[in-house]
Symmetry: C2
Subunit: 231 residues, 2 copies
Amino acid sequence: MKKDHSEKPHPAEAVSDALSRRLPGYYRHLREMENAGAEYVSSKALAASMGLTDSQVRRDLSLFGGFGRYGLGYPVAGLCASLGDILDIRRAHNCVIIGAGNIGRAVALYPGFREKGFLISAIFDNDPAIVGKAIGGAQVLHVSELEGYASRNKIEIAVIATPLACAQEIMDVLASAHVHGVWNFVPVDLDAPPEIEVCNVHLSDSLLALTFRMHEKRVMKHQEEWTGGRV
Amino acid sequence: MKKDHSEKPHPAEAVSDALSRRLPGYYRHLREMENAGAEYVSSKALAASMGLTDSQVRRDLSLFGGFGRYGLGYPVAGLCASLGDILDIRRAHNCVIIGAGNIGRAVALYPGFREKGFLISAIFDNDPAIVGKAIGGAQVLHVSELEGYASRNKIEIAVIATPLACAQEIMDVLASAHVHGVWNFVPVDLDAPPEIEVCNVHLSDSLLALTFRMHEKRVMKHQEEWTGGRV
Protein backbone atom coordinates (compact mmCIF):
# COMPACT_ATOMS: atom_id res chain seq x y z
CA MET A 1 0.00 0.00 0.00
CA LYS A 2 1.80 3.07 -1.23
CA LYS A 3 0.59 6.34 0.19
CA ASP A 4 -0.67 8.84 -2.32
CA HIS A 5 1.09 12.18 -1.97
CA SER A 6 0.03 13.48 -5.33
CA GLU A 7 -2.25 16.06 -3.75
CA LYS A 8 0.84 18.00 -2.71
CA PRO A 9 1.87 20.97 -4.86
CA HIS A 10 4.22 20.00 -7.62
CA PRO A 11 4.98 21.49 -11.02
CA ALA A 12 3.22 19.57 -13.74
CA GLU A 13 6.26 19.31 -15.96
CA ALA A 14 9.61 17.65 -15.41
CA VAL A 15 12.09 19.99 -13.78
CA SER A 16 15.62 20.46 -15.14
CA ASP A 17 18.56 18.82 -13.40
CA ALA A 18 20.05 22.21 -12.58
CA LEU A 19 16.87 23.42 -10.87
CA SER A 20 16.38 20.16 -8.99
CA ARG A 21 19.88 20.66 -7.63
CA ARG A 22 19.12 24.26 -6.60
CA LEU A 23 15.87 23.48 -4.76
CA PRO A 24 17.46 21.97 -1.63
CA GLY A 25 19.67 25.06 -1.39
CA TYR A 26 16.61 27.34 -1.50
CA TYR A 27 15.04 25.27 1.22
CA ARG A 28 18.19 25.37 3.35
CA HIS A 29 18.59 29.15 3.06
CA LEU A 30 14.90 29.80 3.67
CA ARG A 31 14.92 27.58 6.75
CA GLU A 32 17.90 29.54 8.10
CA MET A 33 15.99 32.79 7.50
CA GLU A 34 12.85 31.34 9.12
CA ASN A 35 14.85 30.25 12.17
CA ALA A 36 16.34 33.74 12.32
CA GLY A 37 12.82 35.15 12.52
CA ALA A 38 12.55 36.67 9.02
CA GLU A 39 8.95 37.11 7.79
CA TYR A 40 9.65 38.22 4.23
CA VAL A 41 12.66 37.94 1.97
CA SER A 42 13.31 39.80 -1.29
CA SER A 43 14.36 37.93 -4.42
CA LYS A 44 17.50 40.08 -4.25
CA ALA A 45 18.46 38.90 -0.74
CA LEU A 46 17.62 35.29 -1.58
CA ALA A 47 19.67 35.57 -4.79
CA ALA A 48 22.64 36.96 -2.87
CA SER A 49 22.56 34.11 -0.35
CA MET A 50 22.31 31.54 -3.17
CA GLY A 51 24.89 33.12 -5.47
CA LEU A 52 22.28 33.57 -8.23
CA THR A 53 20.70 36.53 -10.04
CA ASP A 54 17.38 38.04 -8.87
CA SER A 55 15.65 37.09 -12.11
CA GLN A 56 16.83 33.47 -11.80
CA VAL A 57 15.32 33.28 -8.30
CA ARG A 58 12.01 34.77 -9.45
CA ARG A 59 11.87 32.38 -12.41
CA ASP A 60 12.75 29.33 -10.28
CA LEU A 61 10.20 30.08 -7.58
CA SER A 62 7.38 31.00 -9.98
CA LEU A 63 7.55 27.41 -11.26
CA PHE A 64 6.42 26.30 -7.83
CA GLY A 65 3.73 28.88 -7.35
CA GLY A 66 5.93 31.11 -5.20
CA PHE A 67 5.06 34.75 -5.86
CA GLY A 68 6.57 37.68 -4.01
CA ARG A 69 4.47 40.61 -2.85
CA TYR A 70 5.39 44.02 -4.19
CA GLY A 71 7.50 45.91 -1.63
CA LEU A 72 7.52 42.96 0.77
CA GLY A 73 9.07 40.02 -1.03
CA TYR A 74 8.35 36.34 -0.47
CA PRO A 75 6.71 35.13 2.76
CA VAL A 76 9.48 33.00 4.29
CA ALA A 77 7.39 30.50 6.26
CA GLY A 78 4.94 29.91 3.41
CA LEU A 79 7.70 29.39 0.86
CA CYS A 80 9.50 27.03 3.27
CA ALA A 81 6.36 24.97 3.70
CA SER A 82 5.74 24.78 -0.06
CA LEU A 83 9.33 23.78 -0.76
CA GLY A 84 9.18 21.22 2.04
CA ASP A 85 6.11 19.68 0.35
CA ILE A 86 7.75 19.71 -3.08
CA LEU A 87 10.90 18.11 -1.68
CA ASP A 88 8.57 15.72 0.20
CA ILE A 89 10.37 16.07 3.51
CA ARG A 90 7.44 17.01 5.71
CA ARG A 91 6.94 13.32 6.51
CA ALA A 92 9.23 10.44 7.57
CA HIS A 93 11.06 8.17 5.09
CA ASN A 94 12.11 4.61 5.97
CA CYS A 95 15.72 4.05 4.99
CA VAL A 96 18.41 1.37 5.13
CA ILE A 97 22.14 1.49 4.46
CA ILE A 98 24.03 -1.28 2.71
CA GLY A 99 27.70 -1.41 3.69
CA ALA A 100 28.91 -0.66 7.21
CA GLY A 101 32.32 0.68 6.18
CA ASN A 102 33.50 4.23 6.82
CA ILE A 103 31.03 5.91 4.47
CA GLY A 104 28.07 3.80 5.59
CA ARG A 105 28.89 4.52 9.23
CA ALA A 106 29.30 8.25 8.58
CA VAL A 107 25.86 8.38 6.94
CA ALA A 108 24.33 6.32 9.77
CA LEU A 109 25.79 8.65 12.38
CA TYR A 110 25.06 11.95 10.59
CA PRO A 111 22.64 13.74 12.91
CA GLY A 112 21.05 15.87 10.17
CA PHE A 113 19.27 12.93 8.50
CA ARG A 114 17.17 11.77 11.44
CA GLU A 115 16.26 15.41 12.16
CA LYS A 116 14.91 15.68 8.60
CA GLY A 117 12.81 12.53 9.01
CA PHE A 118 15.12 10.02 7.32
CA LEU A 119 14.81 7.04 9.65
CA ILE A 120 17.60 4.52 9.24
CA SER A 121 16.38 1.31 10.85
CA ALA A 122 18.96 -1.18 9.61
CA ILE A 123 22.42 -1.45 8.09
CA PHE A 124 23.37 -4.48 6.03
CA ASP A 125 26.83 -6.00 5.75
CA ASN A 126 28.37 -9.41 5.19
CA ASP A 127 31.05 -9.16 7.87
CA PRO A 128 30.15 -11.59 10.70
CA ALA A 129 32.20 -9.44 13.10
CA ILE A 130 29.67 -6.58 12.91
CA VAL A 131 26.40 -8.34 12.00
CA GLY A 132 24.24 -8.30 15.15
CA LYS A 133 25.75 -5.06 16.49
CA ALA A 134 24.21 -1.59 16.28
CA ILE A 135 25.43 1.66 14.70
CA GLY A 136 23.77 4.91 15.69
CA GLY A 137 20.61 3.13 16.84
CA ALA A 138 20.31 0.98 13.70
CA GLN A 139 20.78 -2.79 13.84
CA VAL A 140 23.40 -4.39 11.59
CA LEU A 141 21.87 -7.33 9.68
CA HIS A 142 23.37 -9.81 7.24
CA VAL A 143 23.04 -8.69 3.64
CA SER A 144 21.19 -11.93 2.78
CA GLU A 145 18.24 -10.51 4.75
CA LEU A 146 18.10 -7.29 2.71
CA GLU A 147 15.35 -8.15 0.21
CA GLY A 148 12.96 -9.58 2.79
CA TYR A 149 13.58 -6.76 5.26
CA ALA A 150 13.16 -3.99 2.66
CA SER A 151 9.90 -5.50 1.37
CA ARG A 152 8.41 -6.15 4.82
CA ASN A 153 9.31 -2.71 6.18
CA LYS A 154 8.30 -0.72 3.09
CA ILE A 155 11.78 0.76 2.78
CA GLU A 156 11.66 3.74 0.45
CA ILE A 157 15.30 4.79 0.30
CA ALA A 158 18.43 2.63 0.29
CA VAL A 159 21.92 4.03 0.71
CA ILE A 160 24.54 1.97 -1.14
CA ALA A 161 28.00 2.23 0.42
CA THR A 162 29.46 -1.16 -0.44
CA PRO A 163 32.70 -2.08 -2.21
CA LEU A 164 32.50 -1.39 -5.93
CA ALA A 165 32.38 -5.06 -6.96
CA CYS A 166 29.02 -5.81 -5.34
CA ALA A 167 27.17 -2.50 -5.85
CA GLN A 168 25.24 -3.61 -8.96
CA GLU A 169 24.20 -6.88 -7.31
CA ILE A 170 22.82 -4.88 -4.35
CA MET A 171 21.01 -2.56 -6.77
CA ASP A 172 19.31 -5.61 -8.33
CA VAL A 173 18.19 -6.87 -4.90
CA LEU A 174 16.79 -3.41 -4.09
CA ALA A 175 14.88 -3.41 -7.37
CA SER A 176 13.28 -6.75 -6.41
CA ALA A 177 12.35 -5.25 -3.04
CA HIS A 178 10.70 -2.28 -4.80
CA VAL A 179 12.52 0.55 -3.05
CA HIS A 180 11.75 3.94 -4.62
CA GLY A 181 15.08 5.68 -4.32
CA VAL A 182 18.78 4.82 -4.11
CA TRP A 183 21.43 7.14 -2.74
CA ASN A 184 24.61 5.71 -4.20
CA PHE A 185 28.05 6.46 -2.73
CA VAL A 186 29.90 3.87 -4.85
CA PRO A 187 31.90 5.39 -7.74
CA VAL A 188 30.00 3.52 -10.42
CA ASP A 189 26.91 4.38 -12.45
CA LEU A 190 24.36 1.70 -11.58
CA ASP A 191 21.79 0.16 -13.90
CA ALA A 192 18.42 0.73 -12.30
CA PRO A 193 14.88 0.08 -13.52
CA PRO A 194 13.03 3.27 -14.51
CA GLU A 195 10.77 3.22 -11.45
CA ILE A 196 13.75 3.67 -9.12
CA GLU A 197 15.30 7.11 -8.79
CA VAL A 198 19.08 7.04 -8.28
CA CYS A 199 21.10 9.94 -6.90
CA ASN A 200 24.88 9.55 -6.95
CA VAL A 201 27.38 11.02 -4.53
CA HIS A 202 30.59 10.35 -6.40
CA LEU A 203 33.06 11.78 -3.90
CA SER A 204 36.11 11.34 -6.14
CA ASP A 205 34.31 13.10 -9.02
CA SER A 206 33.58 16.02 -6.71
CA LEU A 207 37.23 16.23 -5.65
CA LEU A 208 38.34 16.12 -9.30
CA ALA A 209 35.91 18.91 -10.16
CA LEU A 210 37.71 20.93 -7.47
CA THR A 211 41.21 20.25 -8.85
CA PHE A 212 39.90 21.09 -12.33
CA ARG A 213 38.64 24.48 -11.14
CA MET A 214 41.90 25.14 -9.22
CA HIS A 215 43.89 24.33 -12.34
CA GLU A 216 41.64 26.48 -14.52
CA LYS A 217 42.05 29.44 -12.13
CA ARG A 218 45.86 29.07 -12.23
CA VAL A 219 45.90 28.95 -16.03
CA MET A 220 43.61 32.00 -16.31
CA LYS A 221 45.81 33.96 -13.89
CA HIS A 222 48.90 33.01 -15.87
CA GLN A 223 47.27 34.11 -19.13
CA GLU A 224 46.26 37.40 -17.54
CA GLU A 225 49.82 38.01 -16.38
CA TRP A 226 51.09 37.28 -19.88
CA THR A 227 48.66 39.58 -21.63
CA GLY A 228 48.59 42.24 -18.90
CA GLY A 229 44.87 41.63 -18.50
CA ARG A 230 44.15 42.19 -22.22
CA VAL A 231 42.56 39.20 -23.91
CA MET B 1 56.94 29.34 -4.55
CA LYS B 2 53.97 28.05 -6.47
CA LYS B 3 54.75 25.61 -9.24
CA ASP B 4 53.68 26.66 -12.68
CA HIS B 5 51.44 24.09 -14.34
CA SER B 6 50.13 26.42 -16.99
CA GLU B 7 51.97 24.59 -19.75
CA LYS B 8 49.45 21.77 -19.42
CA PRO B 9 46.61 21.65 -21.93
CA HIS B 10 43.61 23.60 -20.81
CA PRO B 11 40.81 25.35 -22.67
CA ALA B 12 41.43 29.10 -22.85
CA GLU B 13 37.91 29.99 -21.76
CA ALA B 14 36.03 29.33 -18.56
CA VAL B 15 34.15 26.05 -18.67
CA SER B 16 30.51 25.80 -17.67
CA ASP B 17 29.55 24.30 -14.33
CA ALA B 18 27.73 21.45 -16.04
CA LEU B 19 30.77 20.46 -18.11
CA SER B 20 33.14 20.78 -15.15
CA ARG B 21 30.88 18.31 -13.35
CA ARG B 22 30.91 15.91 -16.32
CA LEU B 23 34.70 15.86 -16.77
CA PRO B 24 35.49 13.61 -13.78
CA GLY B 25 32.88 11.15 -15.08
CA TYR B 26 34.57 11.05 -18.50
CA TYR B 27 37.87 10.42 -16.79
CA ARG B 28 36.41 7.65 -14.61
CA HIS B 29 34.76 5.84 -17.54
CA LEU B 30 37.82 6.19 -19.75
CA ARG B 31 40.09 4.85 -17.01
CA GLU B 32 37.79 1.82 -16.65
CA MET B 33 38.01 1.26 -20.41
CA GLU B 34 41.79 1.70 -20.34
CA ASN B 35 42.10 -0.83 -17.51
CA ALA B 36 39.89 -3.22 -19.50
CA GLY B 37 42.39 -2.97 -22.37
CA ALA B 38 40.33 -0.86 -24.79
CA GLU B 39 42.45 1.04 -27.35
CA TYR B 40 39.73 3.11 -28.99
CA VAL B 41 36.23 4.12 -27.95
CA SER B 42 33.47 5.59 -30.12
CA SER B 43 31.59 8.71 -29.07
CA LYS B 44 28.51 6.48 -29.12
CA ALA B 45 29.90 3.97 -26.62
CA LEU B 46 31.26 6.74 -24.41
CA ALA B 47 27.89 8.53 -24.57
CA ALA B 48 26.06 5.34 -23.57
CA SER B 49 28.30 4.80 -20.55
CA MET B 50 27.85 8.44 -19.48
CA GLY B 51 24.11 8.66 -20.16
CA LEU B 52 24.67 11.48 -22.71
CA THR B 53 24.09 11.93 -26.44
CA ASP B 54 26.86 11.26 -28.97
CA SER B 55 26.88 14.88 -30.08
CA GLN B 56 27.23 16.12 -26.50
CA VAL B 57 30.27 13.88 -26.03
CA ARG B 58 31.88 15.10 -29.26
CA ARG B 59 31.22 18.73 -28.32
CA ASP B 60 32.56 18.30 -24.77
CA LEU B 61 35.74 16.54 -25.84
CA SER B 62 36.48 18.88 -28.75
CA LEU B 63 36.79 21.69 -26.18
CA PHE B 64 39.80 19.85 -24.80
CA GLY B 65 41.41 19.01 -28.10
CA GLY B 66 40.07 15.46 -28.11
CA PHE B 67 39.30 14.42 -31.68
CA GLY B 68 38.13 10.97 -32.69
CA ARG B 69 39.51 9.21 -35.77
CA TYR B 70 37.04 8.23 -38.45
CA GLY B 71 36.08 4.58 -38.09
CA LEU B 72 38.19 4.13 -34.96
CA GLY B 73 36.92 6.58 -32.37
CA TYR B 74 38.92 8.24 -29.61
CA PRO B 75 42.26 6.80 -28.47
CA VAL B 76 41.49 5.77 -24.89
CA ALA B 77 44.95 6.13 -23.34
CA GLY B 78 45.62 9.49 -25.00
CA LEU B 79 42.28 10.93 -23.95
CA CYS B 80 42.79 9.63 -20.40
CA ALA B 81 46.17 11.33 -20.21
CA SER B 82 44.80 14.63 -21.53
CA LEU B 83 41.87 14.57 -19.13
CA GLY B 84 44.24 13.66 -16.28
CA ASP B 85 46.29 16.77 -17.12
CA ILE B 86 43.23 18.98 -17.37
CA LEU B 87 41.92 17.69 -14.05
CA ASP B 88 45.48 18.12 -12.75
CA ILE B 89 45.64 14.73 -11.09
CA ARG B 90 48.80 13.42 -12.65
CA ARG B 91 50.76 14.82 -9.68
CA ALA B 92 50.38 14.70 -5.90
CA HIS B 93 48.35 17.24 -3.90
CA ASN B 94 49.08 18.01 -0.24
CA CYS B 95 45.85 17.95 1.75
CA VAL B 96 44.61 18.34 5.31
CA ILE B 97 41.26 17.64 6.93
CA ILE B 98 39.71 19.86 9.58
CA GLY B 99 37.31 17.98 11.84
CA ALA B 100 37.91 14.37 12.95
CA GLY B 101 34.23 13.45 13.27
CA ASN B 102 32.50 10.76 11.22
CA ILE B 103 32.76 12.58 7.90
CA GLY B 104 36.36 13.69 8.43
CA ARG B 105 37.35 10.14 9.39
CA ALA B 106 35.52 8.64 6.40
CA VAL B 107 37.39 10.99 4.03
CA ALA B 108 40.71 10.23 5.77
CA LEU B 109 40.14 6.49 5.46
CA TYR B 110 38.79 6.49 1.87
CA PRO B 111 41.36 4.49 -0.10
CA GLY B 112 40.57 6.13 -3.44
CA PHE B 113 42.03 9.51 -2.50
CA ARG B 114 45.57 8.41 -1.72
CA GLU B 115 45.56 6.28 -4.90
CA LYS B 116 44.73 9.42 -6.89
CA GLY B 117 47.59 11.35 -5.31
CA PHE B 118 45.66 13.24 -2.63
CA LEU B 119 48.04 12.98 0.31
CA ILE B 120 46.38 13.72 3.63
CA SER B 121 49.19 14.42 6.09
CA ALA B 122 47.26 15.87 9.02
CA ILE B 123 43.78 16.12 10.54
CA PHE B 124 42.92 19.02 12.83
CA ASP B 125 40.49 18.91 15.73
CA ASN B 126 40.04 20.61 19.08
CA ASP B 127 39.18 17.47 21.07
CA PRO B 128 42.11 16.71 23.44
CA ALA B 129 41.01 13.05 23.48
CA ILE B 130 42.06 12.55 19.85
CA VAL B 131 44.76 15.20 19.30
CA GLY B 132 48.08 13.35 19.14
CA LYS B 133 46.58 10.15 17.72
CA ALA B 134 46.60 9.05 14.07
CA ILE B 135 43.79 8.30 11.60
CA GLY B 136 44.61 6.39 8.43
CA GLY B 137 48.29 7.35 8.62
CA ALA B 138 47.59 11.05 9.22
CA GLN B 139 48.46 12.71 12.54
CA VAL B 140 45.72 14.49 14.48
CA LEU B 141 46.89 17.99 15.47
CA HIS B 142 45.21 20.74 17.47
CA VAL B 143 43.29 23.16 15.30
CA SER B 144 45.33 26.08 16.69
CA GLU B 145 48.26 24.71 14.65
CA LEU B 146 46.31 24.77 11.38
CA GLU B 147 47.50 28.07 9.91
CA GLY B 148 51.19 27.48 10.63
CA TYR B 149 51.06 23.87 9.43
CA ALA B 150 49.23 24.68 6.21
CA SER B 151 51.63 27.52 5.35
CA ARG B 152 54.80 25.56 6.18
CA ASN B 153 53.69 22.44 4.29
CA LYS B 154 52.31 24.23 1.24
CA ILE B 155 48.90 22.63 1.71
CA GLU B 156 46.88 23.03 -1.46
CA ILE B 157 43.56 21.48 -0.49
CA ALA B 158 41.73 21.59 2.83
CA VAL B 159 38.71 19.43 3.61
CA ILE B 160 36.30 21.15 6.02
CA ALA B 161 34.26 18.66 8.07
CA THR B 162 33.70 20.60 11.27
CA PRO B 163 30.49 21.48 13.11
CA LEU B 164 28.55 24.19 11.30
CA ALA B 165 29.25 26.89 13.89
CA CYS B 166 33.00 27.04 13.27
CA ALA B 167 33.19 26.36 9.51
CA GLN B 168 33.51 30.02 8.47
CA GLU B 169 36.19 30.67 11.08
CA ILE B 170 38.19 27.73 9.68
CA MET B 171 37.67 29.07 6.15
CA ASP B 172 39.20 32.39 7.25
CA VAL B 173 42.23 30.63 8.75
CA LEU B 174 42.69 28.67 5.51
CA ALA B 175 42.53 31.91 3.52
CA SER B 176 45.35 33.33 5.69
CA ALA B 177 47.34 30.16 5.05
CA HIS B 178 46.84 30.58 1.28
CA VAL B 179 45.39 27.17 0.47
CA HIS B 180 44.16 26.97 -3.12
CA GLY B 181 41.09 24.79 -2.74
CA VAL B 182 38.51 23.90 -0.11
CA TRP B 183 36.37 20.78 -0.21
CA ASN B 184 33.52 21.67 2.12
CA PHE B 185 31.30 19.03 3.73
CA VAL B 186 29.54 21.46 6.09
CA PRO B 187 25.98 22.39 5.00
CA VAL B 188 26.73 26.10 4.71
CA ASP B 189 27.90 28.25 1.81
CA LEU B 190 31.21 29.70 2.95
CA ASP B 191 32.55 33.17 2.17
CA ALA B 192 35.89 32.64 0.49
CA PRO B 193 38.31 35.07 -1.17
CA PRO B 194 38.28 34.83 -4.99
CA GLU B 195 41.67 33.12 -5.15
CA ILE B 196 40.34 30.08 -3.26
CA GLU B 197 38.20 27.58 -5.16
CA VAL B 198 35.45 26.01 -3.02
CA CYS B 199 33.64 22.80 -3.89
CA ASN B 200 30.71 21.86 -1.67
CA VAL B 201 29.48 18.37 -0.84
CA HIS B 202 26.18 19.22 0.77
CA LEU B 203 25.01 15.71 1.66
CA SER B 204 21.56 16.77 2.87
CA ASP B 205 20.99 18.76 -0.34
CA SER B 206 21.84 15.65 -2.34
CA LEU B 207 19.38 13.56 -0.33
CA LEU B 208 16.67 16.20 -0.79
CA ALA B 209 17.30 16.24 -4.54
CA LEU B 210 16.59 12.49 -4.40
CA THR B 211 13.31 12.85 -2.50
CA PHE B 212 12.30 15.64 -4.90
CA ARG B 213 12.85 13.35 -7.89
CA MET B 214 11.03 10.45 -6.18
CA HIS B 215 8.08 12.75 -5.46
CA GLU B 216 8.11 14.12 -9.01
CA LYS B 217 8.06 10.57 -10.43
CA ARG B 218 5.09 9.64 -8.24
CA VAL B 219 3.16 12.75 -9.28
CA MET B 220 3.89 12.14 -12.97
CA LYS B 221 2.73 8.54 -12.69
CA HIS B 222 -0.43 9.63 -10.96
CA GLN B 223 -1.14 12.22 -13.66
CA GLU B 224 -0.56 9.59 -16.33
CA GLU B 225 -3.03 7.25 -14.65
CA TRP B 226 -5.56 10.06 -14.46
CA THR B 227 -5.26 11.07 -18.05
CA GLY B 228 -4.65 7.58 -19.43
CA GLY B 229 -1.27 8.74 -20.71
CA ARG B 230 -2.76 11.68 -22.64
CA VAL B 231 -1.45 15.05 -21.55
